[in-house]
């Protein structure tokens, strides 16, 4: 009986696939966002409002991840935006290999932005790199301002946070300053946007930020 040193990341296989995806994205100058939140935070609605603002200006594609159904991809297609649905069949997150399998069906050279909407879950998706440029998370005011403390990993890995359902603030006990302070506790550079998918409030600042990120990725590729 003897001990053998291994020292390998458990997610090495996923990370290799993510690196491969990232190379494709960078090569084609496509800015890729991994959109994450708990179920019901409003990811798909915010995505719809975002796509409406980009219509005619940018070429966008969407990958929808859900445990089951293609309802979300159908919502996106109604806006004239190409969408692929991945059903994980029980898995609580998307991984880089799943994304890689779908890339064959996507003409990356025809896109400026690819949004991957992850499975609704505040825990598991945080652990899996998909090869995206930025992780963006959505927290809605109806979920409670204690979420950054309860789910620190998700708030740590996010590049930007959309604080959604701001229109409901008068009806819920949600301390915006506390949520923002605690969301930044392990993430100094977190960009925070206060938005409402229902009223459209705050969406312009978010879309401007996205466009600036897209411009940088495009410039680096050419």
């Amino acid at each position: 009986m003897h001990e053998i040193a291994v020292n390998e990341d458990i997610l090495a296989g996923n990370d290799a696939a993510a690196r491969h995806n990232r190379e494709h994205f960078i090569e084609h100058g496509v800015y890729v966002v991994n959109l994450m939140s708990a179920p019901g935070a409003g990811k798909t609605t915010l995505l719809e409002r975002t796509l409406e603002r980009m219509a005619g200006k940018h070429r966008v594609g969407v990958i929808e991840g859900d445990v089951a159904t293609s309802a979300d991809a159908e919502r996106i297609r109604r806006l004239g935006v190409p969408a692929i649905q991945i059903n994980t069949g029980g898995e609580c997150h998307l991984d880089a290999r799943q994304i890689h399998r779908e890339l064959a069906a996507i003409q990356l050279e025809e896109l400026d932005l690819l949004v991957i909407e992850n499975v609704g879950n505040l825990v598991c998706p945080a652990e899996f790199d998909l090869g995206e440029h930025d992780k963006v998370m959505v927290l809605s005011t109806t979920e409670g301002d204690d979420k950054p403390r309860k789910y620190p990993v998700m708030f740590h890995v996010a590049r930007a946070l959309l604080l959604n359902k701001m229109d409901l603030l008068p009806h819920v006990d949600f301390d915006v300053a506390k949520a923002e302070r605690e969301a930044r506790a392990l993430n100094l550079d977190l960009e925070i946007f206060r938005v409402s998918g229902r009223t459209g409030a705050g969406m312009d600042a978010w879309v401007t930020w996205l466009e600036e990120r897209m411009r940088r990725v495009k410039a680096a590729a050419t």
Binding site: I4, E8, I10, G13, N14, H93, E127, F128, P152, A185
Partner: protein, 115 residues
């Protein structure tokens, strides 16, 4: 419950390392999980015990060590070990903290019986 996916990856790393050393059996695996990881050691162990059956790692004991969340305070510069659920500097009480380590999910070593 992404621990099933993690356990699957872990098992394949263990089997690969075991085979590379022509092991008859892998009896123990040491794993590090950082405090700033969302993997639960109990759930990982549970999934691993279900998946290891009939493989080179059948009966393999999983030894999990939680590695600390190391950070430095962006206000006072203090190097510290933080609690992910209540991240604040023990010296000045402030945050944000800059995370230096704590996201590990690593297979450190295996113990094998020679074939």
């Amino acid at each position: 419950m992404h621990e099933v996916a993690l356990a699957r990856e872990l098992l394949s790393l263990i089997r690969e390392a075991g085979r590379a050393h022509a092991a008859a059996r892998v009896t123990r695996a040491r794993v590090e999980i950082g405090q700033l990881s969302c993997a639960s050691p109990d759930a990982l162990r549970f999934a691993f015990e279900a998946l290891r059956v009939g493989t080179l790692a059948d009966g393999c004991e999983l030894v999990v060590e939680r590695t600390p969340l190391r950070a430095s305070c962006t206000s006072c510069g203090e190097a510290l070990v933080a609690d992910a659920k209540d991240p604040a500097c023990p010296r000045c009480g402030r945050a944000p903290l800059e995370v230096l380590a704590g996201r590990e999910l690593r297979l450190v070593s295996i113990e094998v019986e020679d074939g």
